[in-house]
């Protein structure tokens, strides 16, 4: 506004503007730093560890104070640990785990290959969605254990039967996850994509699929949980020595031998493996997808 200013107004303005803009950008940019390791330790790792320790303490005190004084009903934590240790020393432990995990993961991958195109088809073709959409969501609430008897009758006591049960459990979850992911793509992205020239297949590839990824990953996570549960149901009901002993058979063997420590061993292993696969594969995948999009809730 100074009337004595000799620089052309235009040029001065341009310089001002650049400086102003740089200032605004600096002021408004949110610094996103990852939490320090210590904080992660105290906020994320410590609470579950304390919770597990509490459960163990309660369990042990039930034995110590003779609230339950019958090892055939409730074995001591130390007894269960001994069984696990023994299985480890005999080299059987990893065998049990591997038998089940390899079945579970192979079945899951098969479910993935079938469910992904199915989910896309459902999302894209209205008629197909109207026809099998409700059935597919209904299947999610059907306990997969119900599929074991027919699968045994159709396929016999073999691995194919296990995979069939896994597929029937996991395919609906994954397909529904992808479907809801596609449904939740903001219409704005579709419009923006169309003005950029992403129509038809290009639109599906560049806009719809990446936009639906968070829902898809959530579906994968649930799909794994369903795969694992279905597999355990199949292993427990259809235990057959020739199939190799997985964790489900281990549980069933424990029951037949009235060995409560072995039953607990099997339950703990099933739980641990299910959690471990989720923590090692699916949770990091989900976190990555959400973090790059700024969708991680800061706690």
């Amino acid at each position: 506004m100074a009337s004595t200013d000799t620089t052309p107004k235009d040029a001065k303005d341009a310089g001002d503007l650049a400086g102003l803009e740089a200032g605004l950008d600096a002021l408004e940019t949110v610094q996103t730093t990852r939490k320090p390791f210590r904080q992660t330790l105290t906020q994320k790792v410590l609470p579950p560890v304390v919770a597990v320790a509490l459960v163990l303490t309660v369990w042990q005190s039930l034995i110590t104070f003779k609230v339950v004084d019958d090892p055939t009903k409730l074995p001591a934590p130390a007894d269960v640990w001994q069984v696990v240790e023994k299985a480890w020393l005999q080299g059987e432990l990893l065998g049990y785990i591997w038998t089940s995990v390899s079945r579970g993961l192979f079945g899951f991958c098969l479910a993935l290959v079938i469910a992904t195109p199915l989910g896309l088809l459902l999302a894209r073709v209205k008629l197909i969605r109207a026809a099998i959409g409700p059935i597919l969501s209904g299947l999610q609430s059907l306990p997969s254990v119900a599929w074991v008897p027919p699968a045994v009758i159709w396929l016999g006591l073999n691995n194919q039967m296990m995979y069939a049960v896994i597929l029937l459990g996991a395919v609906p979850s994954i397909a529904n996850g992808l479907l809801s992911g596609v449904d939740q793509v903001p219409p704005l992205f579709q419009r923006a994509g169309r003005t950029l020239g992403a129509t038809g297949l290009k639109g599906t590839w560049h806009i719809t699929l990446p936009a639906a990824l968070p829902g898809y990953v959530a579906g994968l996570k649930q799909g794994w949980a369903f795969s694992w549960r279905s597999l355990m149901a199949a292993e427990i009901i259809a235990s057959f020595p020739d199939l190799g002993v997985g964790l489900g058979q281990l549980l069933e063997n424990g029951r037949n031998a009235s060995d409560m420590a072995m039953v607990f061993e099997a339950i703990l292993l099933i739980l641990t493996v299910g959690i471990a696969v989720d923590l090692l594969i699916f949770s990091p995948l989900e976190r990555r997808v959400l973090r790059t999009r700024g969708l991680m809730v800061k706690s």
């Binding site: 503007l17 803009e21 605004l24 950008d25 408004e28 992205f189 950029l196 560049h206």
Partner: protein, 262 residues
């Protein structure tokens, strides 16, 4: 390229327009039957011209912009544009799974820019909106103003002759909006683009445009037009801007008042 020129007979500048809207009407199926949203709109945007469409809510200004963008079809009348126009929304509409630079590169890819040129071109466009070095930034790491600038760069990547803007700065704070007004004016003058800018903010309209088109509401009709010959650079607090804004606001209020009378 202009496609059809059915009514070129009465037009004096048949091929020399960035957008030509001829007798366009649009109605939607509403609860009370067909509802007329736009009524016989005719408007030309000359190459390199900056036009703002101003109106209260319900005047169908966004509907008109969607029609020009080709996202929707008019009920009657015709629209021709010089190539496919670029469109910027009130929300930045950047894709959060891509970095700022990759958003721009996607636009380049979709318009057929060869792979080896995309990166460099994206960097240039980011420089143009003064965000050089933001190529690898995630959308959520950018402030509201920066996001709109990346969105502008992405729209510019389409290299359309016409840029459509649907209240692109409405969600920003006053200071940032003011800076982006300067920025848009600078880029418009540097590139020679035609701009059709929709807003309900009178001062914004006057500050930016060469021509302000006021739409009446329900149905949207062109109520009046003003040519703005205030020299650039303009400031939102300039007296000339303020005076014209007062005049336009009076007219706009008159348009709105009519709806309360019957």
């Amino acid at each position: 390229m202009a496609t059809t020129l059915a009514k070129a007979a009465d037009g004096t500048q048949s091929a020399t327009h960035a957008a030509r809207i001829e007798h366009v009407s649009k109605s939607f199926a509403g609860p009370a039957g067909q509802q007329l949203v736009l009524d016989d709109i005719s408007l030309d945007v000359a190459p390199g011209e900056f036009v703002t469409l101003l109106g209260a809510s319900g005047c169908g200004k966004s509907t008109l912009l969607n029609l020009v963008a080709g996202l929707d079809k008019p009920t009657a009348g015709g629209i021709t544009t010089d190539g496919r126009p670029a469109l910027m929304f009130q929300e930045h509409a950047l894709f959060p799974w891509l970095t700022a630079g990759k958003n721009i590169e996607l636009a380049l890819k979709l318009r057929g820019t060869p792979k080896n040129e995309r990166r460099e071109r994206a960097e240039q466009l980011l420089e143009l909106v003064r965000l050089g070095g933001a190529h690898g930034k995630r959308v959520h790491e950018l402030s509201g103003g920066m996001r709109q600038r990346v969105a502008l760069a992405r729209a510019l990547a389409q290299e359309s002759r016409l840029l459509l803007m649907d209240e692109p700065f409405a969600a920003l704070d006053a200071i940032t909006r003011d800076v982006l007004h300067d920025e848009l004016t600078r880029i418009w003058r540097e590139t020679g683009l035609s701009v059709l800018f929709v807003t309900h903010n009178v001062r914004e309209a006057v500050r930016l445009a060469q021509r302000v088109v006021l739409l009446s509401s329900r149905p949207g009709r062109i109520a009046r037009q003003w040519t703005v010959d205030i020299p650039h650079p303009r400031r939102i607090e300039d007296t000339a801007v303020a005076e014209l804004s007062v005049e336009i606001t009076e007219q706009l209020r008159g348009e709105i008042r009519r709806h309360g009378q019957h």
